[in-house]
């Protein structure tokens, strides 16, 4: 797993202001974890993403959103916990 500096957790749909605020604050060394409505960004042709992108598998499954062919890692809660302990900081947007 790539070492990430800051893990940004976004649970909001792509057009929510917090999503944009997160994207303004993220660097390529950071991780972006999409949860809840955040996974809609993967189905949204107008959304752009930055950093190493992860998405919570149960939220993808619930919404029938596939990550094949996308530069996104589908992860479970065990991996989410690991990401939060390995990152230097965690910010929930």
């Amino acid at each position: 797993m790539a070492t990430i500096h800051t893990l940004h957790i976004v649970n909001k749909r792509p057009d929510h202001p917090a999503f944009g605020a997160c994207l303004s604050s993220i660097t390529d060394q950071d991780g972006l974890l999409l949860t809840e409505s955040g996974v809609l960004a993967l189905a949204d042709r107008e959304a752009t993403l930055k950093g190493t992108v992860y998405a919570l598998a149960p939220d993808l499954q619930a919404r029938a959103i596939a990550v094949d062919g996308l530069d996104v890692k589908s992860i479970d809660f065990d991996t989410m916990v690991a990401l939060t302990t390995e990152a230097t900081r965690v910010i929930s947007w």
Partner: protein, 116 residues
């Protein structure tokens, strides 16, 4: 280890901004370093001469101007958001530093809270 409390919700529509301010003032009361950053629609908290009592709510203008006395390190506002909502030195409360919400800014804070 400083905390940045981000206020990104506008005033009066809900209590999110007030509850963010309570967090910042609590940190200060316990001598934990804290800075406030207003961004997005949240910069509308900073407009002068708001009459909160017109919607039967309390004004936070006095709390914000007293923030440094209570131990809040700084009050900042995102420059793009201020521009978007027509806020400038004339119509904004005094004591606010404009800045850019970006990775470099967040680097200074071990802990970032954004009630959203």
């Amino acid at each position: 280890m400083e905390t940045l409390v981000i206020i990104s919700r506008a005033p009066y529509c809900d209590w999110t901004g007030r509850e963010s301010l309570d967090m910042a003032f609590s940190l200060a009361a316990f001598d934990q370093p804290v800075t406030l950053l207003f961004t997005g629609e949240g910069v509308n908290w900073l407009r002068k001469a708001q009459q909160a009592d017109a919607v039967q709510q309390k004004s936070v203008e006095k709390n914000l101007s007293a923030a440094p006395i209570f131990g809040v390190s700084a009050l900042m506002a995102d420059h793009k958001a201020c521009k978007r909502y027509g806020l400038n030195e004339e119509n904004m409360m005094p004591g606010i530093t404009t800045t850019d919400l970006c990775a470099e800014l967040l680097e200074h804070y071990a802990h970032v809270v954004n009630l959203s």
